[in-house]
């Protein structure tokens, strides 16, 4: 890896930072669109155009944001907190470059708790409006979150153990892009664990149903029922970014091919292309999972998350045994 120096390096970093910022803002609605389109095709429907999620966000931003008179500042602040923390995490992630901007900050524990901060505010804001659905949503979200977090941390630990670092960029660049590392049983188990975590964290079937209109069954959607206009747009956008974050984790920590090895333009463009293919592929896989499974009964969700936890734990143990 040839490392440029001084001024040149800073310029490159700034350029990468801008590209990554644009990507994490622009890409998530497309990923959401791919999932919606794939699900529709699996149901023999034409489905909305891929641009639908952009139009939805655009529409929401132009609409009036109604705020209940019984709410406090938390209700108004929460969308911004959620959006900012999620966006920050996304810009710190390893995506397609070897020199992620602020790479030294992409400490895994920090990222998990930045996401946690957003979730905390969202749950508070749902309680703030005093509607019964918000309370239901918050209580369910927190129950699930408390089970998801250990599984998520363990699965990343499994990969961190071989890299010897909790820095996601270090982990991503330590995994060699070879068949043997792809087929490493520890990697596969950790991937499976993190995949389940992804479904739970981003409110997909079988944990939550993003397409339902039934208030009583909702988890994430129940929390944001009271939001409208730009507030709702920010929250929707943030959840789409969150999905991209998890897809990036899955794609880059376990299938590390494609992270540009140098700062040359060719490598960089190839890196972006491979990244897009990985994200698109994961979106289709999620659509397949959502189409072939029913939503779990709420009280079975802990069982599923236990499976994720166990897989991650096994992966961690294997990591030391196989070494």
């Amino acid at each position: 890896m040839d490392s440029p120096n001084g001024m040149e390096k800073q310029l490159v970093t700034a350029a990468i930072w801008i590209v990554q910022l644009v990507a994490v803002l622009a890409l998530p609605p497309l990923v959401n669109g791919i999932i919606r389109k794939s699900k529709a095709r699996l149901q023999n429907r034409v489905g909305p155009p891929l641009s639908q999620s952009y139009s939805d966000l655009f529409k929401l931003f132009r609409k009036e944001a109604l705020v209940s008179a019984t709410t406090s500042w938390i209700f108004r602040a929460a969308p911004y907190v959620v959006f900012t923390t999620t966006l920050l995490v996304a810009t710190l992630m390893p995506m397609f470059s070897p020199y992620p901007p602020l790479g030294w900050m992409s400490d895994f524990i920090l990222l998990v708790y930045l996401l946690g901060l957003g979730r905390f505010f969202l749950a508070l804001s749902a309680l703030d409006a005093g509607s019964s659905f918000g309370g239901l949503g918050s209580s369910r979200e927190m129950t699930i979150a408390s089970l998801v977090e250990p599984a998520m941390i363990l699965s990343i630990f499994a990969t961190a153990a071989s890299a010897g670092s909790l820095n996601l960029n270090a982990i991503a660049s330590s995994v060699s892009p070879s068949i043997s590392s792809l087929l490493n049983p520890s990697q596969i188990l950790a991937f499976a664990g993190l995949f389940i975590v992804t479904l739970a964290e981003t409110g997909r079937i079988p944990v939550d149903n993003p397409a339902t209109h039934l208030e009583l069954t909702m988890i994430h959607e129940a929390m944001i029922l009271e939001y409208s206009g730009r507030h709702l747009a920010l929250i929707e956008w943030a959840s789409q970014i969150k999905l991209l974050i998890f897809f990036s984790l899955l794609g880059n920590l376990f299938i590390p091919t494609g992270i540009a090895a140098s700062v040359s333009l060719v490598d960089f463009v190839t890196g972006i292309a491979i990244y897009l293919v990985k994200i698109g592929g994961l979106a289709v896989v999620v659509a397949l999972v959502e189409s072939t499974n029913a939503k779990l009964r709420l009280f079975r969700v802990p069982d599923l998350l236990m499976v994720a936890f166990t897989l991650s734990l096994l992966s961690l143990v294997l990591r030391f045994l196989i070494r």
Binding site: Q43, N44, S132, H213, L214, S291, T292, N293, K295, R297
Partner: protein, 531 residues
């Protein structure tokens, strides 16, 4: 000796002093009028009828007969299935007291009927006095079903609150839901009392879609009311219309042409098919299995389009008329072939869908053991139709009181034991197969040319029941003509009216996010319940 004669003898022997017997124009109805002096023994007589005749409470019909007889009368309809007989007990109510003893202590299924009678007629079945149909803001002394209540009356609203059953204790919360819901379902208010996720109690306030249908019909010509009957419950338009027509036809002793009977039966089964398949889809959608749901909805659409091709209306409006049907549906080879090919398409795809669903464990896990309605509760609350048959209650008017073409078909009721969402799902799946079988069987029959009996003049002050087994359950209508031979009183009993209480029992102990799928597995009509 007919069943009617046999029971006349038995009843005369037991209660000669209290009951006066008469028969209606319909051969399977026996009316027994209770002497006013023995009003106090009404609950005991009802209990005896249920117990010793193996009878089942079907409906309760209050009638304002002050003009003719200077009294109100309440008709308690019982079905004696093995003899194909309806025993109808008449109790007089003194207009000065407006009270009679409640039979709910013996027959739980009558409870909602008595409460509705209290609201709409002001006749109190003491001590069953809680409101049901009138909302809290409705004044106490206004009873809209009385003959002297003018429909144009502007009723003042009063202050009042919905008195649901309070549940108290640490960590018990109330979740109010509705009356306006997400999606395009009808209005109804639900009040859940929950401890965490499990539901301790569910109370509901319905009757938001009350349209005064029964009242609107009064004084109208019988032929005009078919239009109203089609609008009682949108998903059972044809079944309600046929049940209403049957009342008039039985009052006039009309001879329905065989061909009309066959067409009516085919269309009833078409209605059952599209609704059952739609419900299968809706249940799958509610557990988040969108691919299965999309397949089922596609099939439902095919069936509705077939309806349109055959009858000109997707929901079969305009097909029923007094004495028969308005137009043929099987008159050309092309039409018969369309029916056959559509049905075989539907059957093939539906079978594949079900096979696929039954091998998807994540779906089964959601359906099994969810929302169990025990056989005991189903019997006690008088549940009917799909909900009853899924709880092991073998109850199907098509066999118990054979009507239309069903006596000529080998009909067995589809019964499941489980009582859970899966059992109700299975009952629908099996009935879909049976409906297709019935339609194909009837399609091959040659049955004359006439589509309807000639119109008849109705006798004055005569009454009869009319009934069909709709897709949701038994639909029982009752009509009494006035002095001019027009509609004097029309009572509509939709299966939903029996089953809403069953739903509120079935959800107890389940978790809140399972309520929608339990609700969908009953799929009750608000409009039919509220009328």
């Amino acid at each position: 000796m007919t069943a009617r004669d046999k029971f006349s003898v038995i009843i005369r022997r037991a209660w000669a002093d209290r009951l006066t017997l008469r028969s209606g124009p319909a051969p399977n109805e026996l009316y027994a009028s209770l002497h006013p002096d023995f009003l106090g023994s009404l609950p005991d007589i009802c209990e005896m009828i249920v117990r010793s005749f193996h009878a089942r409470f079907v409906t309760l019909i209050p009638v304002d007969e002050r003009a003719d007889r200077n009294s109100f009368r309440v008709y308690y309809v019982f079905s004696i299935a093995r003899e194909d007989l309806f025993l109808i007990l008449e109790a007089p109510v003194n207009p000065r007291h407006m009270e009679l003893p409640s039979i709910t202590a013996h027959i739980e299924a009558a409870s909602y009927f008595e409460r509705e009678m209290n609201d709409w007629f002001g006749i109190t079945a003491f001590p069953n006095i809680h409101r049901l149909a009138s909302h809290p803001d409705w004044p106490d002394e206004v009873h809209p079903m009385l003959k002297d209540f003018d429909l144009r009356t502007a009723v003042p609203r009063v202050r009042g609150t919905f008195d649901f059953r309070p549940v108290e204790g640490e960590g018990v919360f109330e979740i109010p839901v509705g009356p306006v819901h997400a999606g395009i379902i009808e209005p109804g208010h639900f009040r859940f009392s929950v401890a965490g996720e499990p539901i301790i109690n569910l109370d509901m306030q319905l009757h938001y879609t009350h349209k005064g249908t029964e009242k609107l019909a009064e004084g109208r010509r019988p032929a005009h009311v078919v239009f109203l009957a089609e609008r009682i419950s949108g998903d059972s338009a044809f079944a309600h219309a046929v049940a209403y027509c049957a009342c008039i036809e039985r009052i006039a002793c009309m001879e329905i042409p065989q061909r009309a009977i066959v067409i009516r039966t085919i269309l009833l089964e078409m209605e059952r098919l599209s609704n059952h398949i739609g419900d299968v889809g809706a249940i799958l959608l509610d557990v988040g299995y969108a691919v299965g749901a999309a397949t089922a909805f596609h099939l439902k659409e095919q069936l509705l389009r077939l309806n349109e091709i055959l009858t000109g209306h997707r929901l079969l409006h305009g097909m029923a008329r007094l004495g028969g049907v308005t137009r043929p549906i099987e008159d050309t080879v092309a039409k018969r072939d369309t029916i056959r090919s559509t049905l075989s398409d539907v059957r093939r795809t539906f079978d594949a869908l079900i096979e696929w669903v039954l091998s998807t464990s994540s779906v089964l896990d959601r359906l099994e053991t969810t929302g169990i309605l025990t056989q005991k509760d189903a019997l006690q609350l008088g549940a009917v139709g799909v909900a009853a048959r899924a709880s092991g209650v073998d109850r199907d008017l098509r066999r118990d009181h054979p009507h239309l073409a069903y006596p000529f078909l080998e009909h067995r009721a589809v019964v499941q034991k489980g009582g859970d969402v899966f059992a109700r799902f299975k009952v629908r799946v099996d009935e879909v197969a049976m409906s297709i079988e019935i339609i194909l069987q009837l399609l091959g029959q040659h049955s004359g040319e006439a589509l309807a009996a000639p119109p008849a003049v109705l006798p004055a002050s005569t009454c009869a029941l009319g009934y069909v087994e709709g897709w949701r359950g038994e639909i029982v209508h009752w009509v009494m003509t006035d002095a001019a031979g027009n509609i004097g009183r029309w009572k509509i009993t939709d299966p939903s009216f029996h089953n809403w209480r069953a739903l509120s029992l079935a959800v107890r102990g389940n978790i809140v996010p399972d309520f929608p799928v339990i609700n969908k597995s009953f799929n009750l009509s608000y409009s039919g319940n509220d009328r």
